[in-house]
Every structure is written in C-alpha cells, then in structure tokens.
C-alpha cells in the first residue's frame, strides 16, 4: 500500500476567519487510515474550528480539505457524502430531545443511508450494547445521565458506520465521575482500529490512545509528535508552557 492510499484526511494550508478574527492560519496535515490523533491547545487556539471544518460544520475560506478522496467544496452532494463517512461527537452531546434513544440512532441510517427500519434498529441495538446501555433504548435523552447521553451520541455516530470519528471535547461537559465511562468506550473504539481525531484535555487518555499529538495555538499547528516524545521532550516553548500549565496540578 502506498502512502496516498492510506491517507484519509488531508488538510492543505486551511484558513478560516470569523469576521476579523482569524481562527485558522494555514493549517496543513495528513491523517492515515487507523491513525489516532489527539489535538490539544489553549482555548481559542482553533482546535474545534479545525475539526469542524473536516465535516463542513464550518466552511473554510482558504486552502483545501480532502476527506476520503472527496474534496470539500460548495457542492452539497460532496458535503453529504463526506458527512456520511465522518462521525462527530459534540461537547454538548446534541441528542435529539424529542426522539427516543433508539430513534436518535436510526434516523441517520434510515434517512441518509437508506436503511430500512428493521435493519437500522438492529444496528442501533448492536451499538447500544457496545456502549453498554441497551436497556435505555426506549427512553428519551432527558431521562439519561450526561455520561449515558454522550455514549448514546457516540453510538449514534457509529450507526452511520463512519470511516473516521471526530470528537470535539467529548468529556468537557461531563461530571467527573462520568468521564471514565465515556473514555472507556472511546478507548475500545480506538483498539478496534477506528481512525479518530479527538480534541481533548484528558492527557491520560491521550497517552493511552494517541499515536500522534497535535498542539495548536493561535490558529496554527505548533507541534506534531508521538505522545512519548510530546510529553517528555516537547520542542516548542509554547508547548512546554501549555503542558506545564495543565499537568502541574
């Protein structure tokens, strides 16, 4: 297999502004199939913006993004094609409050993958078991704890059988005692070989799972390194400062 075959995401000189604020200043990197990338950096550094650009929740205004061989442009068909292959887990879960857990999980496969109801429900139950809450299938999201809701959100993404999973600070809105149950699910997913990009401050998780660490600051990628190197001997001063701040306590 050549290098180009393995590459599933390619960002080339991507920039993005919100009004006068430049959130991304020419970000470039490649991600290979099966790679697990953890992105960290201070708030406002552009980490969320970057991964939101990958499934076009934000529109980049310079450079190019290619996902799974499809370049993201204004073409809606392309955007939908990319979104079907890219799962996203949000900080605030964003479950559909008016639908049961099961309906949350079957909506995507039925509407955008064209699965029939029985098939979609079968897949949904399978993934609910994987995230260990099959007994909650007929409840509404508001009846679940935060940790359970986030696991449902992960299952909802997985039901689309994505090739890539994006996590945007998946544990930041959780009570401390619920963080582990969500991280455990994510670790399992990583062990199964899923390609993942995770924006998180959970450095323990990063050390266990990541094969690449990306540190961002002020809309730029400052440092890319394997975790062993990243945590023990960061090259850039900004990385050192950031790590000393979050690891000191």
């Amino acid at each position: 297999m050549t290098d180009t075959d393995k590459r599933v995401i390619r960002l080339d000189n991507v920039s993005k502004s919100f009004g006068n604020f430049q959130a991304l200043k020419g970000v470039s990197f490649d991600i290979n199939h099966g790679q697990k990338v953890v992105v960290c950096g201070p708030s406002g550094s552009g980490k969320s913006t970057m991964i939101r650009c990958i499934n076009r929740l934000e529109e980049h205004d310079g450079g190019s993004i290619t996902v799974n061989g499809v370049e993201l442009t204004d073409d809606m068909a392309n955007i939908l094609a990319v979104r079907r292959e890219v799962g996203m887990v949000f900080q605030q879960f964003n479950l559909f409050p008016h639908l049961t857990v099961l309906d949350n999980l079957t909506l995507g496969p039925m509407r955008s993958r064209g699965a029939d109801k029985q098939q979609a429900q079968g897949t949904a139950m399978e993934y609910l078991e994987r995230v260990r809450i099959p007994d909650q299938a007929n409840k509404y999201p508001s009846q679940l704890s935060g940790g359970q809701q986030q696991r449902v959100a992960i299952a909802r993404s997985l039901c689309m059988k994505p090739k890539i999973m994006l996590f945007d600070e998946p544990t930041s809105a959780l009570d401390p005692e619920m963080i582990k149950e969500v991280l455990d699910v994510m670790i399992e997913l990583a062990e199964e070989g899923m390609t993942m990009i995770v924006v998180t401050h959970e450095m323990g998780f990063a050390k266990t799972v990541a094969d690449t660490m990306i540190f961002m600051d002020h809309g730029e990628i400052v440092e890319v390194a394997p975790p062993s190197e990243f945590f023990s001997s960061p090259r850039s001063e900004r990385t050192q400062l950031f790590l000393s701040q979050i690891l000191s306590h």
């Binding site: 499934n55 076009r56 929740l57 809606m76 939908l80 979104r83 079907r84 890219v86 799962g87 996203m88 949000f90 605030q92 964003n94 479950l95 559909f96 409050p97 008016h98 909506l107 995507g108 509407r111 955008s112 993958r113 509404y140 508001s142 959100a153 909802r156 993404s157 689309m160």
Partner: protein, 272 residues
C-alpha cells in the same frame, strides 16, 4: 420531592386565596358595568327586546329546525377563518423559509412583503384588494376576504415560525448535519418537531386574532357574523341586544379555541 410538594402546597393556598379575591373584584366590576349599561339604556328610553333574539339563532317551521341569521353568519365566519388558517400557515411557512434561506432574492422578497403588510392598515389593504385586485382578477367577495386576511396574518405567522425555528439550538442542526441529513430532512425530522411546541401559543393567539379580524369583511358585504348583525339591526333597531349577542358569539368561539390549545399543549408537554 417533599420540599417541592410543600412549596407547591403553599403556592396553591396563596393562589387559592388570591383567586377568591380576584373573583370578587371581577364580580363587583361586572355588576357595576351591567348596572351602568342597563341604567343608561333605561334613561334614554331604550326598549330591551331580548325575547326577539332566539329567532336569529334558530327558527322552527313546520316542525323542522332551521338556522337563524346569526348562526348562518357564524357559519360564514367559521368557513372564512378555516380557509384563512390553512392559507395563512402556508404563507407564513413559505415566507419564513424564504427569509431564512441562502437565496438573496428570497430574503428580499419576504422582507418586502413583511414590511409592506405590517406598515399599512388592514382596512386599506382590504379596500385595495376589493376595489383594485378583485375586479382585475375577477375574484368574488368571499375569496377577496380570504386572500386579504391571509396576506395580512401570514406576515405575523411568518415571524412566529421564524422565531420558533431559530429558537431550536444550533447544536441540533449540527447534529443533524453530522449524520448526513439533507437540509430538508433536518427541518422535517429535527427542527420543526422541536419548534412546534414553542410556536403553538403565539400561533393560537394569531388564529384568535384572525377570527376577530375576519369581522372586517363586513365592510365589503361578505355575509359573516358581523354583517348579519348589522343587517338585523337595520331591520329591527335592536342594536344593543344584537351587538352584545354578536360579541358573545365571538367570545365563545375564541375562548373555546384557546381552551382546546391549552389542552393540546398539556398533552404534548407530558414527554419532557
């Protein structure tokens, strides 16, 4: 739970007391109002003929019951209102979607429509439709009324729908996008179902307004409840009795609608 229940009970007791006081105030006020009207009418020598009113509700002829003129008028009002409700929701929805769309001409079109309608008097709009557009397009009185009221109320409904849709969190849209839903599916399965409970109370208010505003078609002689009232008065000079009765009928209509919607809201709220 128990603390909650105690607080609830206290609230209930207080609200119970204030409800008694409020009811008393209301009764005293209404009694004096009735007294003023009756006394004033007697002073000017008005002859009350309430006994003549029932025949305008129903007539018995050769053992069969026929609707009276007020009921026929009510029928026209209800008919008019129902057509308007349907068309108004449609107009409102289309306008709101255009206003939120990416199309510049769509946004312009809807904005011009909204500004035009909301900044001219309803009566003038009705005259415009009746004297200008209906002769040109050959539309009869009833449909002129329907079109004019739809045009007017549609602008308010558009804003209600827009604010309802926009009150659904952005994260919901994004979650829909992230599982590959099209914009249309996002509206249909995620946004609209969540916006409807939010829109229901103001929409009810708007439909009640529609019922009340429908009386304006009496100026173009559509035979609605208000027109029938006017005609009966022209024949009989019972203006006091008839206007009280007409107002009462409108009141029954609007109050029963809002009671129905309250019931509906309570039903849909159970889930959360």
């Amino acid at each position: 739970m128990s603390v909650n229940r105690k607080a609830l009970f206290r609230y209930w007791k207080v609200s119970q007391q204030s409800r008694v006081v409020a009811t008393l105030q209301y009764l005293v006020f209404m009694a004096s109002l009735v007294w003023v009207v009756v006394h004033g009418a007697n002073q000017m020598g008005y002859q009350w003929q309430w006994y003549n009113i029932p025949e305008y509700f129903y007539k018995v002829f050769e053992g069969e019951i026929y609707p009276g003129r007020l009921i026929k008028g009510l029928g026209v009002t209800v008919d008019l209102t129902l057509w308007c409700v349907g068309f108004t929701l449609l107009t409102g929805l289309i306008t709101a979607l255009l206003r939120m769309s990416d199309s510049i001409s769509g946004r312009w079109l809807s904005t011009i429509y909204l500004e035009l309608v909301r900044n001219t008097p309803l009566l003038v709009q009705l005259y415009l439709f009746y004297f200008v557009f209906s002769p040109i397009f050959g539309i009869d009185r009833f449909w002129t009324g329907v079109i004019c009221l739809t045009f007017y109320e549609g602008s308010f409904v558009a804003e209600i729908i827009r604010s309802g849709v926009q009150s659904v969190e952005r994260g919901q849209w994004e979650a829909g996008d992230s599982i590959g839903l099209t914009r249309w599916d996002n509206y249909r399965y995620i946004v609209i179902p969540q916006a409807i409970p939010i829109m229901l109370p103001p929409l009810t208010g708007q439909i009640i307004n529609l019922i009340k505003h429908s009386s304006i078609v009496s100026v173009i002689a559509v035979a609605d409840l208000t027109t029938e009232g006017r005609n009966i008065i022209a024949d009989t000079f019972m203006s006091f009795e008839i206007w009280f009765t007409v107002a009462g009928i409108y009141l029954v209509l609007t109050l029963s609608l809002s009671m129905f919607v309250t019931w509906l809201e309570n039903r849909t709220r159970v889930r959360t």
